[in-house]
Symmetry: C2
Subunit: 680 residues, 2 copies
């Protein structure tokens, strides 16, 4: 026993090794010109001249000029203003979250190392427990944590004091960061060239036009806003359901590309003659036809259909949706219209700021509030069940991760498992990895659900998905890892006895610190460099290029430009902030691991934001309040946990003084929201 420090060391070694391998591979791979479209797609899209101006040799020269780890230097030196200009404020906010977490957690780590760990280490509760009950595990990690302090000990005053210091420091950091990001946001919006969306409100729930009435939807909107905002109304666009047209146009473009590809192939290998194919099932049956002729005929037919559909859209009321973008003469007018209730029936003529044109999620625009309400209820219920019954695979992981349970399988397994490296792998690497795999599928699912809820903009959909992912992680990864028994049982007992929560947390949290340390190492130390290497996109790209790419358009498609997945990155970052705040007073050993994780993450994401991710839309830091509110939640969980630990340790003098902390945090959060949230 006592080997848990060793296991941690092995896990750290494995993960640092993996990280080194990934980073080295990346440093080499980005120098190969054939990988440009994998590692610099965003740069390529933004500034193609950089790569193209002097032809292939220029590109090669550019690549070879890079020294190993030059990318690191390039990423780190870019100043924030330039980053905002190139990658947008949303991306910068993600980096600010990394930075904010480091700023908040670093002094806590320092304080923990200098003050708390010596205080914990010099007591001997863990040893005594082990002496009394030799079957209980004796953990060197626990010796550095609050678990090692004896019951009723006065040493716990130090932990209480630390909790207060940490809380005030967190309040200060959060306030400063909120202020900074608000300044960035307002400055960003003020500096922009006038954008159409700054003059425009989205109006939904426009009352339907009767079939008898000769008024069109457009006339109705014009009449309404001319009366309500006579001096500032400028123009409007009724939203049109162009989904059928879009499908036709898409199909048309694909067919056109097919024709091009066939022509190019024929030119390259003129000996082969005109390409032919069969029209039946999978090109295996039916009569043989000349492919180019066939697709050209199809193309002209699709062009015709698209033109017809486009005629329907322009001339009839059939495709008109009861929503409109209304533009005002000045920003002030749009601000007024977006914030003011105009109709007597507040469920009609609902106005809100128009999302950016890129940000609008068109398919949802015509959906009625009523319909949205029903869908949200349905999605809410589904998410509830998803959150509370997704634990079946996770509890499987928990049992897998347990060295002892593996040893019980049989002698050969036991022998394998007892090899130190493998033991380290099993207890340090496997649980995190399997958990991570389970979680990888989730954001996609939750994003689809959020889309289904009917939000009008992509940024809102992403934000809603992020909230769902966060709660999922909180319940499943955090509570699911620390509590025993089914999550639903836990929920039941929590609802029927909420005052038991601090004790439950206080009982479970301290013993789980090494589990979460390994989780951090797998996810961050090795995970982030893997994100850098983009192994999966890399393989996919080269496979596509080798097999399918013919036209320039194909090559562009193969690049598979991706946006930054905020709904995955932010919730997991917030989850780590939660871990940091919870363990800061209880088991400060976790913090250095976390800080290294944050540093790696910061560097990796700064590089990727510059080079890789496409800026799909700009919500001007619209995600920040979500982050700030979850940091508050994390603080609350941390403080309630500490309260639970203290009362379980029978610190009857100390524990009552921990009660005001969550109250203070709640009061602070009310103030913080009131002060900043209206600007978002």
């Amino acid at each position: 026993m006592g080997s848990d420090l060793e296991n941690l060391g092995v896990a750290a070694g494995i993960n640092l090794g993996l990280a080194t391998i990934f980073i080295a591979a990346y440093s080499v791979a980005i120098k190969m010109p054939i990988n440009t479209r994998v590692y610099f797609p965003a740069l390529l899209q933004r500034d193609p001249s950089k790569f193209k101006e002097t032809g292939k040799t220029g590109l090669e020269r550019f690549m070879l000029n890079l020294r190993l780890l030059d990318w690191l230097h390039g990423a780190l030196k870019m100043p924030e203003e330039e980053l905002i200009a190139t990658a947008g404020l949303d991306a910068v906010v993600v980096l600010r979250v990394f930075f904010f977490s480091m700023k908040m957690l670093f002094p806590m780590a320092l304080w923990g190392a200098i003050v708390l760990i010596p205080i914990n280490k010099t007591d001997n509760n863990v040893q005594q427990q082990h002496a009394v009950n030799p079957k209980s595990s004796f953990s060197a990690v626990d010796q550095l944590s609050l678990s090692n302090v004896q019951d009723r000990s006065d040493r716990m005053w130090a932990h209480l004091l630390s909790a207060y210091m940490f809380a005030f420091w967190a309040y200060y950091c959060l306030w400063k960061e909120y202020e900074y990001i608000t300044r960035l946001r307002l400055g960003y919006m003020a500096d922009l060239q006038p954008q159409p969306d700054q003059f425009t409100v989205l109006t939904t729930e426009i009352p339907k036009v009767d079939a008898q009435s000769s008024e069109t939807m457009s006339q109705r909107v014009a009449r309404y806003f001319r009366v309500q905002y006579p001096d500032i109304y400028f123009a409007h666009n009724v939203v049109i359901n162009a989904n059928p047209l879009w499908a036709l146009v898409n199909k048309r473009d694909k067919t056109a590309n097919k024709v091009d590809a066939l022509r190019i192939k024929m030119e390259r290998k003129p000996r082969k003659g005109r390409p032919m194919h069969r029209t039946g099932f999978l090109g295996l049956r039916g009569p043989k036809v000349d492919s180019i002729d066939f697709y050209e005929k199809e193309l002209s037919q699709l062009r015709e259909e698209a033109a017809t559909e486009s005629g329907i859209i322009q001339s009839s009321q059939k495709r008109v949706v009861n929503a409109a973008f209304v533009t005002f003469r000045n920003r002030w007018g749009a601000a007024v219209a977006a914030q003011t209730q105009v109709s007597k029936n507040p469920q009609l003529w609902i106005t809100s700021w128009a999302p950016e044109p890129r940000d609008v999620y068109w398919p949802n625009l015509g959906m009625s509030k009523w319909h949205q309400g029903l869908r949200r209820l349905a999605v809410g219920t589904a998410v509830f069940f998803l959150v509370f019954f997704y634990m079946v695979p996770i509890s499987l992981v928990q049992s897998l991760a347990n060295l002892d349970s593996l040893r019980h399988i049989g002698t050969p397994v036991k022998e394998i498992v007892d090899v130190p490296v493998i033991a380290g792998f099993v207890s340090g690497f496997l649980p995190g990895l399997v958990l991570k795999l389970f979680l990888a599928l989730l954001p996609l699912l939750l994003r689809t659900m959020s889309t289904f809820e009917g939000h009008p903009s992509t940024s809102t959909i992403v934000r809603q998905a992020a909230i769902k992912v966060y709660y999922f992680q909180l319940v499943n990864v955090f509570f699911g890892s620390i509590l025993t028994g089914s999550l639903f049982e836990q929920l039941r007992s929590f609802v029927s006895q909420p005052t038991k929560l601090p004790e439950t947390l206080g009982n479970a949290i301290p013993t789980k610190s090494s589990f979460f340390i390994t989780y951090i190492m797998v996810d961050g130390w090795a995970g982030f460099p893997a994100e850098l290497l983009r192994l999966f996109p890399l393989l996919l790209y080269h496979l596509r290029v080798a097999l399918f790419v013919v036209t320039d358009k194909d090559r562009e498609n193969a690049m598979n430009l991706q946006r930054l997945h905020y709904e995955e990155l932010l919730p997991s970052l917030l989850f780590y902030i939660l871990l940091g705040l919870v363990y800061a007073p209880i088991a400060p050993l976790l913090l250095p691991f976390l800080l290294l994780f944050l540093v790696i993450g910061y560097v990796v994401y700064k590089n990727q934001i510059i080079n890789v991710y496409e800026r799909q839309y700009e919500s001007s830091a619209g995600l920040w309040p979500f982050v700030a509110n979850r940091v508050i939640v994390a603080l609350l969980v941390a403080q309630i946990t500490l309260l639970g630990v203290l009362s379980l340790k029978l610190a009857s003098k100390v524990a009552p003084f921990a009660v005001p902390l969550p109250v203070l945090t709640l009061v602070y959060s009310v103030w913080l929201r009131d002060r900043f949230e209206p600007n978002f």
Copy 2:
């Protein structure tokens, strides 16, 4: 035993007798011209000509022309439009609440009488319980309630069905009423002559002017609004702290009135010579002075002081408060300014609709948000303790009200108590009365607390007080009457085990129906006619007239014009609605008593609103959302109670079907708020 029906009968007799006496006395008393200022103060203020035009004989003729109960006819026949025009919309909303409750509860009472009572009566659970345990009370009232249905009986399907019917009927009534009152409100505001407050917003939290800056507060406000609302800004008034001036003016007027009174007294009895008094302690010591000269000198001094203070106000910045009324060129502009956030810091330049001039509560205008927040926290804590520790006197009442505990005092008490009339009095009248007395002091206290919170208008203060009174009544009268043990203990057990609530309610509610029936009779049947008679103001007025009145001003003051105390009336009405909804499916016998109460109340208050209460301000039905939201709370309590009763009666087939009801009510309430509340 079985005498509880008899006791109810006796109580009903006593209370109906009292009601008859009060009404008869009122019918006679209003015919006496000397009571005009007690029974028609509002009428007198509104339309003095009606009483004065032909001098005293005209007044007498008007009085004598009234036949007995003519007042009733007069009150009932006044149409709503006229009532709105004379008494204002706020008062009419109170009558609408009476009307709404009758409309909602009458069909429930009918259904209860026709369907539920026969179903309950034909079972025999109460008899069996009594046979098994002869010491348990055998109650005839309980035989008509759900208590008489046997455990596991299929009869409970009827109660479940009724609960659903009642819920949907309540939803419908609430929706219709909300719609009607919204129409009244919007119509009222549209019909009004243009009022200054419709063009004005109240701006608070104006940043303080530096001592160095040469800009005055007024210039700062003008500059700000000229920039932000260039075309629609019209003018502004900075709020000035005139409290010192007001005190001086008040004192001046009182002294002037004193001088007048002394002159009149001297003229009436010239033989007595000039009045003299001593200047020392209570006029008993010190040198004797000529009273008229003395007060005239004081008067001129006060006039001077008031002039100086008025000079300070007009010329210096000392009395300027950082709030201002900003007027716009049109209503539209004011609406925009009131709803729009303008400052980058949302905690500065806060705008809201200006209250009516009469409604403004001036002393609170300059209070900072921060200060208000602290005060609200303090008041919130105080109210919490008040609500949960005010039960000491109430639990005393509970023990007093118990016939058995009185019998235990001794033989003489026992003999007295066993006289049927006295038994009826003790169990039917005393508990309600004492409870009522305890509660009478409360609204004043809670209103003072709400004033202290710093709301800018009287109507808001009244609304906040009403909310506090409501929660007090809900916890103390409702839960306090049905639960055993200290309220704080109950709160603790509720917080630690919230899922036990339905059972606790289901256990306690059914047995308390006769208690609440007597409470209704005392409070409403006798209480409302007592309100009609205004015994206390009547005595006070005549005492004042006899002892103190000399000048006309004195007589006016003696009239003691009062506003309708919404913060007392509405919460108790809502409390009765709660009783009605809770007992409708469980003990429908309560409903007829409640309906009679509502009819009496409606008539009494319609009369008093026309004749007695002063219209101090007009918030245009601003109190209605409070009422509607509390009706939803009442529905929830009722449905949770039924759920508890059903599960305690082991109706394992029926009870699960009661679970969706509260969920349905919550969904409905979200919709209702969303649909109507923004208009208030």
